[in-house]
């Protein structure tokens, strides 16, 4: 019989295997021509090494698509608010107010808009409490929140598909129909490209010709190293970790733990009231300060650390710098030196770089 003939057996088996292997649900983006242009970012010499995202590698066209989306108010439910509405390039991609109320609902937020730069090195969770795994998940928060952009993602896909330029760009970058996941990925690529490492401090640190800091600035640097660098660590001026810096002594559990910092994500009691260390880069132009923007000036921040720290079971041990007592002693003249140094961290090239500005 035919079925017993080995010459029938093998083709039939091959056919079976072929049929099952071709039913893959996973879309693999095959090589396309022309393909998006891979980008190797220019990383400042004094920065830690840069690792690109494995699932969302940077391409020139991907970054550009992300930039266009970042400044496009159609990403919001009422078509009036873009990412840039709260993340302004000239002030470090923050918004200059403590708790904005320009979101769709008109209700003020409970957290201050964070700065956006050097996020390529933020690997410990985004948002003040680290609730977002990475840049490829983060935008879903503000996009869908009723108090921020209040967008229905299915409607967003339909809106973008009606715009030929977007259809063309998405197809070129991601090789398929527009999907929310790719909107987020494009935004992530743009944000990953936001690198601030060209301040006067950086030129000095890299030993570039003619780059000097004044004696007062150097004194300020030395004070920051001694008093602040254990949290505002390294060339990024942040350890990308969570600390309770003594701005409160009690943490109500209202709003599902919103005021409890990292605790509401980890449920570890040791994390009560801990928030992410922001970078000190560009700090003088990114007021107000803290996760709720409660300090309007750097003077208030320095006063807080020197005489205003509040005790609680989870306040950070690194803040006990005053002979075993809570507090960081800073004299008036030391405060002046520190401020003068912090000014050297302002990176005008970044704040006004046309590459990151609103597209024409």
């Amino acid at each position: 019989m035919r079925e017993n003939d080995p010459r029938f057996y093998f083709p039939a088996l091959m056919l079976l295997l072929f049929l099952f292997s071709s039913c893959k649900k996973d879309e693999v983006i095959t090589e396309r021509s022309p393909a998006p242009t891979p980008v190797k970012l220019e990383v400042p010499g004094n920065f830690p090494p840069f690792t690109d995202d494995v699932d969302n590698p940077l391409t020139r066209e991907g970054i550009e698509l992300g930039r266009i989306l970042f400044y496009d108010a159609r990403l919001s439910g009422n078509n009036k608010i873009s990412c840039a509405s709260c993340h302004r390039q000239d002030i470090g991609f923050s918004d200059g107010v403590a708790l904005t109320a320009i979101g769709v609902s008109g209700k003020h937020l409970e957290r201050h808009t964070p700065i956006l730069f050097n996020l390529a090195w933020a690997k410990n969770g985004l948002f003040w409490d680290g609730g977002s795994t990475n840049l490829e998940s983060q935008a879903l928060g503000p996009l869908t929140s009723a108090d921020e952009m209040n967008q229905n993602l299915t409607e967003l896909e339909a809106e973008l598909k009606a715009i030929p330029d977007y259809v063309k760009r998405f197809n070129f970058v991601f090789g398929r129909e527009i999907r929310t996941a790719d909107v987020i990925r494009a935004l992530a690529q743009f944000q990953r490209a936001l690198i601030s490492g060209g301040s006067r401090y950086d030129h000095y640190k890299r030993g570039e010709t003619g780059a000097t800091l004044s004696d007062l600035e150097l004194q300020g640097l030395s004070l920051v190293n001694a008093k602040c660098r254990s949290c505002h660590t390294g060339e990024l001026f942040t350890d990308d970790d969570f600390h309770n810096n003594g701005i409160d002594s009690s943490y109500p559990d209202d709003l599902e733990g919103l005021f409890q910092g990292r605790f509401r994500i980890s449920f570890n009691p040791a994390d009560m009231g801990k928030f992410k260390t922001p970078s000190l880069r560009n700090v003088l132009i990114t007021a107000p300060y803290m996760h709720d923007g409660r300090f309007k000036t750097i003077d208030e921040v320095l006063d807080h650390y020197s005489v205003g720290l509040k005790s609680s079971p989870t306040v950070d041990m690194l803040l006990y710098q005053n002979g075993g007592k809570l507090g960081i002693p800073i004299t008036a003249s030391e405060k002046e030196a520190i401020k003068v140094f912090l000014a050297t961290l302002t990176d005008q090239n970044f704040l006004y770089d046309g590459k990151f500005a609103r597209p024409n």
Binding site: Y9, D26, G125, F127, T133, S137, A181, E256, G257, S266
Partner: protein
């Protein structure tokens, strides 16, 4: 071996159980039939509300949950895990068509079914490219209309159960909009960079009592499960709506998650 499969007759008579060959896949489905106590699930039936063990009347407005990582096992211990990419389902009780989790497993007689209520931690942290279809964070609608993804704490809502009860207060602890709504959004995959709440539940069903699954190429074996939403309230960690009307990502969700595993009961199998 292959020849034996190719000449299997088309009749439904009890032919000998086929040899277990992993590549010899056939259709199989698990049906998630939602009930509430002894009654069928109907929405917003305020004239005849359901009543939980604490005596609280309630109606249901939304019930949806993720089922994933389906596995089957034979009596002699051969196991098969459905290819993970094809093993994620969002069961939406408002859409009857979604109650079937349709997969492919090798031909054989299965005495044990295992599945996960929720999305496993590895998939939860994969790139968005690997989380498509029902795992797309945009799927299911926005937060108010049935979205199953937390934007503020990257991760999926595994089990979303909402309804109304007159025991819900009108203050901030209950429903400040005055609509007497209760909401249970149970999720938590264990955390990404640090350990946190893990409410993933793996459920194993013994099929021998109510009917083993005889999976064959020419038919659709269907394991019919009842999923009793009353167990949310009446399970081991029994609780009152009035005391916990809103439970989302919090310590108390762990108690409720333990009840969820008790919802599933095997009623019968259609072969």
């Amino acid at each position: 071996m292959l020849t034996a499969v190719l000449i299997t007759s088309c009749s439904k008579e009890d032919a000998p159980t086929p040899e277990f060959v992993e590549t010899n896949l056939a259709p199989f489905s698990v049906e998630f039939d939602n009930i509430v106590g002894e009654r069928t699930l109907a929405f917003n039936n305020s004239t005849t509300p359901y009543v939980n063990a604490a005596g609280e009347p309630f109606t249901v407005s939304m019930l949806q949950y993720f089922i994933s990582n389906i596995k089957v096992a034979t009596a002699d211990g051969k196991e098969y895990a459905v290819k993970q990419d094809s093993s994620y389902f969002l069961i939406k009780s408002a859409d009857k068509a979604t109650r079937f989790a349709k997969v492919k497993v090798p031909e054989g007689d299965y005495t044990r079914l295992t599945f996960t209520l929720g999305v496993d931690s590895l998939r939860s942290t994969m790139g968005v490219d690997k989380r498509t279809g029902v795992l797309d964070p945009a799927a299911g609608g926005d937060h108010d209309t049935g979205g199953m993804y937390w934007g503020w704490n990257s991760g999926y809502i595994f089990f979303r159960f909402e309804g109304n009860s007159n025991v819900v207060s009108d203050d901030v602890n209950g429903d400040p909009t005055g609509k007497k709504q209760f909401k249970y959004h149970i999720g938590g995959f264990g955390g990404y960079s640090a350990p946190t709440i893990n409410n993933i539940k793996v459920i194993t069903i013994d099929l021998t009592t109510a009917g083993i699954a005889k999976v064959r190429k020419d038919r659709q074996s269907n394991v019919h499960l009842f999923v009793d939403a009353m167990k949310v309230f009446n399970g081991t960690n029994s609780f009152k709506i009035a005391e916990h009307p809103n439970v989302m990502f919090s310590d108390y969700s762990v108690n409720i998650a333990k009840n969820l595993a008790q919802m599933f009961k095997h009623d019968h199998t259609e072969n």
